[in-house]
């Protein structure tokens, strides 16, 4: 961290700060030198913080009216929608908020992949971020079970049954997760308990994520190391706070559009049918943000194999910093990687679409191709492209290409030596 020594102006402030340096922390967060060329893709960190807070606040309020019991849960959610003052608003913010949270986190992750933010020295930030993502998926899944509709019940059955694919102990683990011999009241109870707990674990990891970020400082669109503070940086406040606030306002307009004009468009109508353990809905699908992984699961004609590939598709992200052999961070200077990046984005979107379609015919074939390419991207494309690619010259500083008129080769540095 590149803070100057901070001394509070007031005597009381100094007294307090000597005992608990909160004011020093505040000064660090205010002055934190930030690259001056951060674009709008960098505003999603702030947006995600907003999403987490929104989910926690609306969730605590919903828990005041919700009843976690198999016989009462569905009715209590309808009670929230019809009787509780503004209950409909709070619940729609919470349910659509989950989708908005994932929308923002996917943009955040893909931004990191484009600009190489996961590379040295930011691997730990990346890994903590993935842990947050895993907790988010677990939290969202358990939250979706709570209304105890048909999709809740059968989604819970399918996802918990994934663990039964584990040889020998699979059945015992599944029964242990259920607390019964099928998804039942004990399952609902514990999911509610954990659904309430996990957001606070996420909050803790978010603090570590930001702490780890503030050690090397932000990556930036051209992906070079910066001197901090320097003419390449601006203080976090007010420059970044105002930009983040503007982006957040735009994001909230989209968020409100869903909440007020089409609050159920991202959900599934079958979840307005109370859970029935005797009838499985004809076409069960997870929430949209889990569809690519669902497509991978279904594309394998073997139970254990499908489960392994599905979990593998997430865990392979943890070793991404070591699979990418290129030292140049930003795709701006990587002519080959740039194309493969967009192919990968399309591949993930394709998998998402296939996950929503029935697993048969052309959909299944395309899902299989998409699954194979997903893994090829990490195992073959990234290591090989990093070695073969001739990267473009990387500038010395953010200001350099602007201040020098035209391209000055003297100001450009060769990729490998100085980055």
């Amino acid at each position: 961290m590149s803070d100057q020594e901070y001394t509070p102006k007031s005597k009381a402030g100094k007294w307090f700060n000597d005992r608990l340096p909160l004011l020093t922390l505040g000064a660090h967060l205010t002055d934190y030198p930030t690259p001056k060329n951060l674009n709008y893709w960098w505003t999603f960190g702030g947006i995600l913080t907003f999403c987490l807070l929104t989910q926690i606040i609306t969730g605590i309020v919903l828990a005041m009216h919700y009843v976690a019991h198999a016989d009462l849960a569905f009715a209590s959610v309808e009670h929230i929608m019809r009787n509780v003052n503004y209950g409909w608003l709070i619940r729609y913010i919470h349910s659509n908020g989950a989708s908005m949270f994932f929308l923002a986190v996917y943009i955040h992750i893909f931004r990191s992949m484009f600009y190489g933010s996961y590379k040295s020295p930011r691997e730990v930030i990346w890994i903590i971020g993935l842990l947050i993502y895993l907790l988010m998926m677990a939290t969202a899944f358990m939250g979706y079970v709570l209304p105890w509709g048909q999709m809740s019940f059968w989604g819970a059955t399918v996802i918990t049954s994934l663990f039964s694919a584990i040889p020998l102990v699979g059945e015992s683990i599944t029964t242990w997760l259920w607390g019964a011999y099928s998804v039942d009241n004990p399952t609902l109870n514990r999911f509610f308990s954990l659904h309430y707990l996990f957001p606070f674990l996420i909050s803790g990891l978010v603090i570590l994520h930001i702490w780890a970020l503030h050690v090397p400082g932000n990556n930036n669109p051209i992906g070079i190391d910066l001197k901090k503070p320097s003419k390449d940086t601006v203080p976090f406040h007010p420059y970044i706070t105002i930009k983040d606030a503007f982006a957040l306002l735009l994001f909230m307009i989209i968020f409100s559009g869903f909440v007020f004009f089409s609050p159920n468009v991202l959900g599934h109508s079958d979840n307005y049918i109370p859970a029935n353990p005797l009838v499985t809905p004809a076409h069960i699908v997870p929430e949209w943000y889990l569809l690519p992984f669902y497509a991978i699961l279904r594309s394998v004609p073997d139970k254990l194999g499908g489960v392994i590939l599905m979990f593998g598709s997430i865990f392979i992200l943890f070793v991404l910093p070591w699979l990418d052999t290129s030292k140049v961070r930003s795709a701006v200077f990587r002519p080959m990687y740039r194309y493969f990046y967009w192919i990968f984005v399309v591949d993930v979107l394709l998998l998402g679409y296939m996950g929503a379609m029935p697993a048969e015919g052309i959909y299944l074939t395309l899902a299989r191709i998409g699954t194979i390419y997903y893994f090829l991207h990490f195992i073959i494309v990234l290591p090989v492209v990093g070695l073969l690619e001739k990267t473009d010259p990387v500038p010395m500083s953010i200001s350099a290409p602007v201040l020098s008129s035209g391209a000055d080769p003297a100001l450009a540095k060769k990729d490998y030596d100085k980055i």
Partner: protein
């Protein structure tokens, strides 16, 4: 030198003994916290269900709930039994004779857990490529004996423990 060694050994013993006691204590605390999540006594108490089968005609099937899971009871026709038994074991992903899936002398009664062995959905009856059951979730096809024929499910539908209490009653569990 030897004195020093002795001292170190005594320390090592104390450390090892302390860690061991600590680990046992920690385990004793953690186990109740883990085991509380397993099915409780109330769940285990629901372990049997009796079904009156006197009203079921040949070709019909009923579904009952046992331990929160559906159980299919199908009274098969002669033709269906013959068909289920004419299949070569080599064509089965999980080879099992139809005779081994029913009670001897009560061959018409197929009693099995109506739970797809893939990811736990309830298969639909009289559907699929083998006239038995079809799971809508991920497309597993089962035959007239509830055996897996095609799709991602790894095994045949499970036969629960059951017995004929008398000619008109089946006790499951």
């Amino acid at each position: 030198m030897s004195k020093e060694e002795k001292k170190i050994n005594r320390r090592d013993f104390l450390f090892t003994a302390s860690y061991t006691v600590g680990a046992v204590g920690l385990g004793a605390v953690v186990w109740p916290l883990v085991h509380q999540m397993n099915p409780d006594k109330a769940q285990q108490a629901l372990a049997t269900t009796e079904v009156d089968i006197s009203q079921i005609e040949p070709g019909q099937s009923v579904t009952v709930l046992w331990r929160g899971k559906p159980v299919f009871l199908k009274r098969r026709t002669e033709q269906e039994i013959t068909e289920a038994r004419s299949v070569s074991l080599q064509d089965l992903p999980d080879p099992q004779k139809d005779e081994d899936r029913v009670k001897k002398g009560k061959d018409e009664w197929l009693v099995m857990l109506g739970v797809c062995t893939h990811l736990g959905c309830v298969p639909l009856k009289d559907k699929g490529d083998y006239k038995g059951w079809f799971c809508p979730c991920h497309g597993s096809h089962y035959d007239l004996s509830g055996r897996i024929r095609k799709g991602p499910a790894p095994t045949n539908m499970e036969i629960p423990k059951f017995e004929f209490v008398d000619n008109n009653t089946i006790k499951i569990g």
